[in-house]
């Protein structure tokens, strides 16, 4: 086993364990903290995949903004949702079964697919620069790029209208 493989296995196990705690911990603030660890694990996975830009963006956006926003929301609404008492609904057995079936099915499909034959090639150009060029290039992703900004604008206006009341 090479060093990279060992790192990948550690990262994957930590991430999945953290994710399991996210969905099972009754204390919601703890769930949010575990979510931060899981998201950090995903960022480490991005580094292993040489997508370094996405790795840092993952930390900036998910941990620095989304997780913080979630903790704020948890604290705002804590009065009606105490940490004690069951946090899962009556269908949880069915949900667990469904998740398990999905995982087993996907794994089965993946092992039998040709994915194992895919090979790595060396990076020749800087992906960040390539991304920057193609995100604003008219024959690549300029429309999704501008649409994303419009979407975010709409989301901001919408959420201010919903949450903000004098």
């Amino acid at each position: 086993m090479s060093g990279v493989e060992i790192i990948f296995i550690i990262v994957a196990i930590v991430t999945l364990l953290a994710a399991l705690f996210v969905v099972t911990t009754p204390n919601l603030v703890h769930a949010a903290l575990w979510l931060i660890l899981a998201l950090f694990g995903v960022a480490a996975t991005f580094v292993l995949l040489n997508a370094t830009f996405l790795a840092v963006v993952q930390v900036v956006v998910y941990i620095g903004a989304i997780a913080v926003l979630m903790i704020f929301a948890i604290m705002l609404t804590r009065r009606v949702m105490e940490d004690s008492g069951p946090q899962i609904n009556s269908n949880w057995i069915l949900a667990a079964l469904l998740g398990l079936v999905l995982f087993v099915g996907l794994t089965f499909v993946l092992i039998n697919s040709g994915a194992a034959n895919a090979s790595l090639s060396d990076l020749v150009v800087d992906p960040v620069e390539q991304l920057g060029k193609e995100l604003v290039s008219p024959n690549a992703y300029v429309i999704p790029f501008e649409l994303a900004s419009v979407l975010l604008l709409a989301a901001m206006i919408g959420s201010i209208v919903i949450a903000w009341k004098k």
Partner: protein
């Protein structure tokens, strides 16, 4: 070298855990956390396919960036709805949000 299959299985596991969270949790914010996990699993897939595919085609990373934006928008609006519900109906249990049911 790590095979592409391992990344995909890792992502599948993360997705399944997220799915369980979405289906089994009572609290609306916890459900949003499950959705975040699922979106992250999708992102791992996108980036893994970029890395193991044609590197000249940046689509995998570009889509991942768009997924970030969508996730941010979803969380912003989703949590705003949760807060609004909390203030109007004093509940954030997903099952009790049945305003459109009669």
């Amino acid at each position: 070298m790590i095979s592409l299959t391992w990344y995909l299985i890792f992502a599948a596991a993360l997705f399944s855990i997220g799915l369980y969270g979405v289906l089994a949790r009572k609290n609306a914010i916890a459900i949003l956390m499950g959705i975040e996990l699922m979106l992250n699993a999708v992102n791992i897939n996108l980036v893994a396919f970029w890395r193991y595919g044609d590197l000249a085609n940046i689509a995998g990373q570009a889509f991942a960036v768009i997924v970030f934006a969508v996730a941010a928008a979803e969380v912003a609006v989703g949590l705003a709805l949760v807060i609004s519900l909390y203030r109007r109906r004093n509940t954030i249990v997903a099952e009790e949000i049945d305003l459109m049911k009669w």
